[in-house]
Symmetry: C2
Subunit: 165 residues, 2 copies
């Protein structure tokens, strides 16, 4: 039965599912963040599509969410080559999550605070609804990063029990 | 003597040294990127210090450069807990490199192309020398990411020979 292994396998599966859910929420919330305002008589629309970093955030989180669910189905009992490959893919997925959160975070900081030296004004006062959704998406993205970190830590520190399910 | 192990140990050490060097170059080049121009009779200075993402890029690359050199001195023959801890620290360092490159990349794209929807104008035509140095630093940063990826791949796929030196 391997009674000692079951709880840890469950921990891995739960971490993976939770990370997938957080990444999916991040992607969906960011993808649905837009706001149209009227400024000086002109209609101005704020939309994630207009900023490459936010598009990458949506695509990256969506892709990781799907890929990590697929990994749930891979039979990879450690120690084996399959288990090491799963770990390697997990590192890549974690890196994509971090890159997505970092680039979207950099742009969001600019949206909130601007950069007077570069002449870039903050825009969040004009489009608060857009910024609030983007902020919620970023929080979900960072939660996904945190959960993925725990997953990786688990796989690396307890290699004999934690990979696959 | 372990003749079979020596070449791989050397590969690991070389990858680590090369990654440390690339990260150090990235930090130094970005840290020395500044340009002063006169615009409409006013002196305007472009400096990495004015942008949080670029400060993080410098700090992150410098920290990783130092930390990975320290790891060279850790005796961590796999399989052992020490080797797994070294791998975990390496994953964290790799993540810092990626986050630094991603956030600085997002801001650099803005500097080059601007974002007309947000009213953020490109600035690289005004401060080309600053942008050229930032671009060189970014390239070094991405080289460091690439080398660290190879290092991690090596550690994960060949765990019994590749960690520590």
């Amino acid at each position: 039965m391997g009674k000692g292994k079951s709880p840890r396998r469950i921990v891995t599966a739960v971490l993976r599912l939770a990370a997938a859910a957080a990444a999916a929420v991040a992607a969906v919330v960011m993808a649905t963040s837009h706001q149209t305002i009227v400024l000086f008589g002109m209609e101005v629309q704020a939309n994630f599509r207009y900023t490459p970093s936010l598009v990458f955030f949506v695509a990256g989180n969506a892709a990781v969410s799907v890929c990590t669910m697929v990994l749930l189905l891979v039979p990879a009992a450690a120690p084996s080559l399959a288990a090491r490959l799963v770990l390697m893919v997990d590192v890549v997925l974690g890196v994509v999550l971090v890159a997505a959160a970092a680039s979207a975070g950099a742009i969001s900081d600019l949206g909130k605070n601007g950069n007077s030296h570069a002449g870039w004004m903050p825009i969040c006062e004009q489009v608060p609804a857009f910024c609030d959704r983007a902020k919620a998406a970023l929080i979900a993205g960072f939660v996904a990063v945190l959960l993925y970190s725990l997953l990786l830590m688990n796989s690396i520190l307890f290699p004999s029990v934690s990979m696959g399910i």
